[in-house]
Symmetry: C2
C-alpha cells in the first residue's frame, strides 16, 4: 500500500523520520502535528511534512493512514479522542514498544476494524525532531499486531505494506501478547538495567572521574526520555518485573562466584554471556 | 621520555596498538613477544614491531621500557619471571585495569625502584592483534601508579612521559587503592552488569528474535575476553561485590516502584539516571 495521504501525530525521532521518509518516497500529502510548535515548523521547513495541523484531530481528518508517534499514554489518549473524527476509510496505527494494552484500548474505542499496531525496532535515546532522519527507519524490523477481526486483518496488511513499500522496512506479524513478553526481555529489561546502573553510579558521587566507552555504552539507554519509558515499563510491568528479578538473580550469582573465588565457574558464566552477545550481532 | 628501545609483551588490542604507535612515533627498536606466534608475525609484517622475540625474557632484555600488555594473572606471573633478567636501567610497566595487587607484587619481586603501573582507558571488547590500531591510544586518559620509593617515582615519571610524548595520551597520577576503588564502579561494575544481563538473556532462550541497538549496546561489554575479566573481577572482588550489591538494590528499587505503580517516583528515578548519563558525555 502506497498511501496518497498520511497524517503523523508526533514529530520526534520516530514520527519525524517516518514523515520525512514517506514524503521523500513520494507520498503526496503528509500532514504533521506536534504538541511542540517549533518541532512542527522545523519539520515543515525541511520538507518532512507538506502541511502542519493545529490539532491532532485536524491532522487525522481525511488521511488514508493516521500514525501516532507519541509515548504510550499519549497514544492511548489519542486513540480515544481521534476515534470519532477518523474518516471511514482510514486506518490508525502507532509505534509504541508495548502492544497489548494499545490494541485492547483501540478495540474498546470501537476501532477493532480500523486499527493495527506497529513497533519499529529503530529506537534511539535521542528525542525530538533534531534527531529525525529520513534514513532512520530504512531496513528496520517492524512488528505488526492485529486486532483480531477480518477488517482489522486488512488494516494490518495495509499498514505492513506501507512499512515495507513506502518505508523500506521489514514487517513481522506478531501476536501482541507474545510481542510484549518478548520485548520485556529484549528491550525493556536492558532499558531498566541501564537506568538502574546509571542511578547507582549517579548516587555514588563519582563527579569528575573519567568513564570509558564501556560504561558509556552500558548506560547509553539511560539518556532516553523518562516520560516515554515510564509509560512502557508501567504498561508492561508484570513481565518487566519478572525480567528484573531474573537479572537480580544473575547479579547475585556473579557476586557469589566472586565471593567463592570460583574461577572455573566465573569463566563459564562469562563465556555463556559472551557467546550470547556475539550471537546477536549476526 | 622518548625511549630508544621498547619491549611489548602481548600484542593484542592494547599491546599491538601501543607498539605500532610507538614505532610510527619514531622509537627505533620495538621488540614484541606474543604467546600466539601468528599475532607476532602479523605485528612484524605491518611494521608494528621491529623484532619478534621467542620468549618474553628475550624481548625484555636491553629495552629501556618493558611494557606488559597481558591479562592481570599473566602480568603477575611475568613480573616475577622478568625481574631477574631486566637490564639495570630499564623500567617495567603494565596496562592492567587493577593496580594495587600489581604494584604490591612488583615490590615483592624486588622491583620497587623500577616498576610503575599504567592503565589506559582505551579498552575494547575486541581481542587480538586484528583489533590493534596505531590510533587506539591517542588522546586516552592513562592512569599511572607509583610504588612509593624515590626511584619508583622517577620510573613513574618516565612512564608518564612516554605515554604523553610518544603516545599522545593524557597521564593522570593516582594512588593505586583509589584507582581500584574508582574503577570498581566506573568500569568493573558495568562489565559485571553486561555479563549478568547477557547471561540472563542467553538463558531465557530468545533464539532467533531481533535485538535493537539498545540491547546490543547495553550488553556490548559481554563480548570481552572472559580470561582477562575474571582476573580483574577476582583481584578487585571486594569493591566489585559492593558495587554489584548496590546495583541489585537499584534494580530492586525500580522493581518496587513498578509494583507500586508510582509514576512520580519512577520518573524521578529515571531523571537521576538520565542527568548522570548526559553528564558523562561532556
Amino acid at each position: 500500500m502506497y498511501p496518497s495521504s498520511l497524517a503523523v501525530i508526533g514529530l520526534g525521532a520516530i514520527g519525524g523520520s517516518l514523515a520525512w521518509q514517506a514524503r521523500l518516497a513520494g507520498v503526496d500529502r503528509v500532514v504533521g502535528y506536534s504538541r511542540l510548535p517549533a518541532e512542527g515548523v522545523e519539520a515543515l521547513k525541511v520538507g518532512a511534512i507538506t502541511e502542519l495541523a493545529d490539532t491532532a484531530e485536524q491532522a487525522a481528518r481525511q488521511a488514508e493512514i493516521v500514525l501516532l508517534a507519541v509515548p504510550p499514554q499519549a497514544t492511548l489518549d489519542l486513540i480515544e479522542s481521534l476515534a470519532p473524527v477518523l474518516s471511514p476509510g482510514s486506518v490508525l496505527t502507532d509505534v509504541c514498544s508495548i502492544k497489548e494494552p494499545i490494541i485492547r484500548h483501540a478495540i474498546a474505542a470501537g476501532l477493532g476494524d480500523r486499527f493495527a499496531g506497529g513497533h519499529p525496532l529503530a529506537g534511539t535515546h535521542q528525542t525530538g525532531f533534531p534527531s529525525a532522519s529520513p534514513e532512520r527507519l530504512r531496513g528496520c524490523v517492524v512488528y505488526i499486531c492485529e486486532t483480531g477481526t477480518p477488517a482489522g486483518h486488512r488494516a494490518a496488511t495495509g499498514v505492513a505494506s506501507f512499512w515495507e513499500h513506502t518505508l523500506d522496512a521489514s514487517p513481522v506479524l506478531i501476536d501482541p501478547a507474545v510481542h510484549d513478553q518478548q520485548l520485556a526481555w529484549t528491550s525493556h529489561l536492558p532499558q531498566g538495567v541501564a537506568y538502574a546502573l546509571a542511578k547507582v553510579l549517579a548516587e555514588r558521587g563519582l563527579g569528575g572521574v573519567s568513564f570509558g566507552s564501556g560504561a558509556k555504552d552500558t548506560t547509553r539507554l539511560a539518556a532516553s526520555s523518562p516520560e516515554m519509558w515510564v509509560d512502557i515499563l508501567l504498561l508492561n510491568r508484570s513481565a518487566v518485573i519478572e525480567a528484573l528479578e531474573q537479572t537480580q538473580a544473575g547479579l547475585q550469582e556473579l557476586q557469589e562466584l566472586l565471593s567463592d573465588e570460583d574461577r572455573g565457574a566465573l569463566v563459564e558464566f562469562c563465556e555463556i554471556a559472551r557467546r550470547f552477545r556475539l550471537g546477536i550481532d549476526r
